[in-house]
């Protein structure tokens, strides 16, 4: 009984719930019908008519209201902007075509050089084959006089052959011993571990380089644009050189740069500067086709190395200090004996050489034909070529000589592992633009950062380990930065630009 009652109650509840719910649903539908549906179509049509009449009014206003002026003004503005865009495009095409022209010129030059080289090789072979006959007089050694870049090589050939012939008039054992003597002399001259004092002794080691955060001093350091800057290998002495033909020396005192002297002797602008490992000698390359060597205490160069036929872009001490390697725009790299101030060897490098670095046995050069070339100095042959995307502007070796940094005109810094040269890392940054054909990028003295100056006047510093831009130091230069230098102590960075300004940066 109770169950039935409960069930009935539940049923009536269910029915009841349906009743009021159905009532609500019905009511809502009725409401929508009377209040919304009848008006919806009308109001929608009304809105679309309103839109159309608005548009028509707008158009009529445009035609009648302000007369012909509003229509003509936009058209003249349009034609102006279209003209501007076309001029812009044409200018861009002009620049592009010029670049292509330059590249074609470069390749043309290279092909000329290759042709000349081939002909010279052929002549040498002919001369070599001719000289097999020992009994001939020494006068007939060099059958032809090739053009000047090769003249030195030909002369050395002549000299060595001459020496051969002079002793050739004697009996054979003497010939053999003199030939052996020639080779021995050669070997000794080029051996690396000749004597203790000639070994490369790093006098200072940088434990940690500190990334600078602000400029602490600026000054217009020279009369004209500055091309090169270098810190001493043993102290915080700074050397700068540029178009005004002198090298100035600076001390860092109380956060300022104090002039400590001037080295002159160059007849034209300075392109690069290097200190010797003791920090007491300076080597510089110059536009006047020579490299100059000073002792710091003299203001006049002790040695001048002449022989290149075009500007010398880099001069570096070779592993043994008695030798200097220079790279030049005349497409040669020369090795010099510093004491005798004479060129020992000339390597034809096939393209305008923008920078040169030396490690134990290697000479590495960067070129305008977008290659980095590795040379075995003993054999004067190119052992390797590393391609770049743009013309190479500078090279630098990290302190442990295991990595090579190159900077090129395509705004990319490339790090090459010298032990396995397929290992290459590229560094870029937004806004970094290589400002000239001689812009220099460097390692920090501990090898963990890279620094380079950009065309936008900011110094960019990358972290070698992370590959990312570590710092950007803008706003101090108003001209493209040509070079940067990092002190051995790791705490100062100096940047120089084409408008003769030098800026000292630090993190304190």
């Amino acid at each position: 009984m109770i169950m039935d009652a409960l069930q009935r109650a539940r049923n009536s509840e269910v029915k009841q719930s349906e009743t009021w719910k159905r009532h609500i649903i019905r009511q809502l539908r009725h409401r929508n019908r009377t209040q919304t549906s009848v008006f919806q179509d009308i109001i929608e049509s009304y809105h679309s008519l309103l839109e159309k009449s608005k548009q028509r009014a707008f158009i009529t206003k445009g035609i009648l209201g302000s007369g012909s002026r509003p229509s003509s003004v936009p058209s003249s503005e349009d034609s102006l902007t279209s003209l501007k865009t076309t001029t812009g495009e044409l200018a861009y095409q002009v620049v592009e075509l010029q670049q292509r022209l330059q590249m074609k010129d470069v390749t043309l030059d290279e092909q000329h050089t290759k042709a000349r080289e081939a002909s010279i090789h052929k002549e040498l072979q002919m001369a070599a084959s001719k000289n097999v006959n020992i009994n001939e007089e020494s006068g007939n050694v060099s059958p032809s006089e090739p053009s000047s870049p090769k003249s030195e090589t030909a002369e050395t050939v002549k000299r060595s052959h001459g020496a051969l012939f002079r002793s050739a008039s004697a009996t054979s054992p003497r010939i053999i011993s003199s030939i052996r003597g020639l080779f021995e002399r050669k070997v000794r001259g080029k051996s690396v571990c000749r004597s203790e004092e000639d070994l490369f002794i790093p006098l200072g080691v940088c434990l940690v380089a500190r990334v600078p955060t602000k400029a602490i001093y600026t000054l217009d350091a020279h009369e004209l644009g500055i091309n090169a800057v270098r810190f001493s290998t043993s102290s915080n002495l700074l050397a700068t050189g540029g178009t005004d033909r002198v090298i100035k020396l600076w001390d860092i005192e109380a956060g300022t740069l104090q002039n400590r002297g001037t080295l002159d002797g160059s007849n034209e602008g300075i392109t690069s500067i290097e200190f010797d490992p003791t920090g007491t000698r300076i080597l510089a390359a110059s536009y006047d086709k020579s490299a100059l060597f000073w002792r710091l205490e003299d203001s006049v160069p002790k040695v001048t190395l002449t022989g290149h036929s075009r500007k010398v872009t880099a001069a570096k001490f070779k592993y043994s200090q008695r030798q200097v390697v220079t790279g030049s725009a005349d497409r040669t790299v020369k090795i010099w004996d510093l004491q005798r101030a004479a060129c020992i060897q000339t390597i034809e490098v096939l393209s305008f050489c923008s920078d040169v670095v030396c490690s134990e046995y290697l000479i590495i050069s960067s070129h305008y034909d977008r290659k980095i070339r590795f040379w075995d100095s003993r054999a004067a042959t190119c052992t390797q070529e590393v391609p770049l995307q743009g013309i190479g502007t500078s090279l630098d070796l990290c302190p442990n000589h295991r990595q090579l940094l190159s900077c090129s005109r395509d705004d990319i810094l490339q790090l090459v592992d010298l032990r396995k040269s397929n290992d290459r890392v590229a560094f870029r940054a937004e806004g970094f633009k290589c400002g000239s054909d001689s812009t220099k990028a460097i390692f920090s003295p501990d090898g963990s950062f890279l620094a380079a100056g950009s065309a936008d006047g900011a110094v960019y510093i990358w972290n070698v380990n992370t590959g990312n831009l570590e710092k950007r130091l803008p706003d101090m230069h108003s001209a493209p930065i040509s070079a940067v230098a990092w002190s051995l102590s790791g705490e100062y960075v100096v940047s120089v630009d084409k408008s003769r300004r030098a800026v000292l940066w630090s993190d304190i």
Binding site: W20, Q27, N32, I42
Partner: protein, 275 residues
């Protein structure tokens, strides 16, 4: 249950046809034409009348324009009430479309709140939701939601997105089954005939014995004048969303399905029309 979903949709998409005319007191350069619009019942006047403002600004000088406000037959319309409530309360038995007058000057400071931007509407809307949840769940559900969920509720209303709104709102409509309903029902009873703006009191949806209470129980307790005996002619109409639910409708179901987006059950008690 599909019926329930239909009810939610009908409630959300309810529309009122309105005709906006510029008040004759306003100074105009040309004659202003009336502007017709279908207003959503669940939204707020200042949220949906941008086009009205643009339409009338075309004929007015800029210096004559202050904050826009609306009035119906002499009564300034409070923008912070949902549109459906305003219509049901003031104009439910009149001819459609609803004629609203638009004013641009002489803002009635005592009757209306200023509404300078949509963020004012959003703040008011969110505070209503929070108040409703305080009554329903002691604010537990609303406080468990993240800020982006709150934003989703507002964006759903602003952009007329039923699914987006109810994805979040259904959480506010849940209750522990053992309770049988919310803690208290959030509701407001509006009457034109009284001085108070509205009646809002604590009311449990389930009686002490466990019965579900109805709309009739609610009105009997809080607004007894609105209910009259069966033999008397009906003096008042009890309107929710433009319809008159039966008095035996459970108030818990009404709160879940016939609330406005601000989670309140807005009930209008109006004099019955004398035909």
């Amino acid at each position: 249950m599909a019926d329930d979903k239909d009810v939610l949709r009908d409630v959300w998409f309810g529309r009122i046809p309105a005709c906006f005319t510029l008040s004759p007191e306003e100074t105009t350069e040309r004659e202003a034409e009336p502007y017709y619009l279908l207003l959503p019942r669940v939204s707020y006047l200042t949220l949906v009348t941008d086009k009205v403002k643009k339409h009338f600004l075309k004929v007015m000088k800029a210096e004559d324009v202050e904050e826009m406000w609306f009035e119906y037959e002499g009564t300034p319309l409070k923008w912070h009430y949902p549109i459906g409530v305003l219509f049901d309360l003031h104009a439910s038995n009149t001819a459609l479309p609803w004629s609203v007058s638009v004013h641009f000057k002489s803002f009635p400071e005592h009757d209306l709140l200023h509404c300078t931007s949509n963020s004012v509407i959003e703040a008011h809307f969110m505070s209503s939701i929070k108040e409703a949840d305080a009554l329903k769940h002691k604010s537990q559900v609303i406080n468990d939601m993240q800020k982006k969920d709150h934003k989703q509720l507002w964006m759903g209303l602003q952009n007329d997105k039923f699914d987006q709104f109810w994805a979040m709102n259904r959480k506010l409509m849940e209750y522990p089954t053992e309770e049988g309903g919310f803690r208290y029902i959030p509701f407001r009873i509006y009457q034109t005939t009284s001085d108070r703006p509205f009646i809002q009191k604590l009311f449990r949806p389930v009686s002490a014995e466990g019965h579900a209470l109805t709309l009739g129980d609610l009105l009997k307790e809080l607004c007894p004048a609105s209910i009259c005996a069966e033999d008397e002619p009906k003096r008042f109409q009890v309107m929710v969303h433009g319809i008159e639910p039966l008095l035996e409708t459970p108030v818990q179901w009404l709160s879940e399905h016939l609330s406005h987006p601000d989670n309140f059950l807005h009930i209008s008690v109006i004099p019955a029309p004398s035909d």
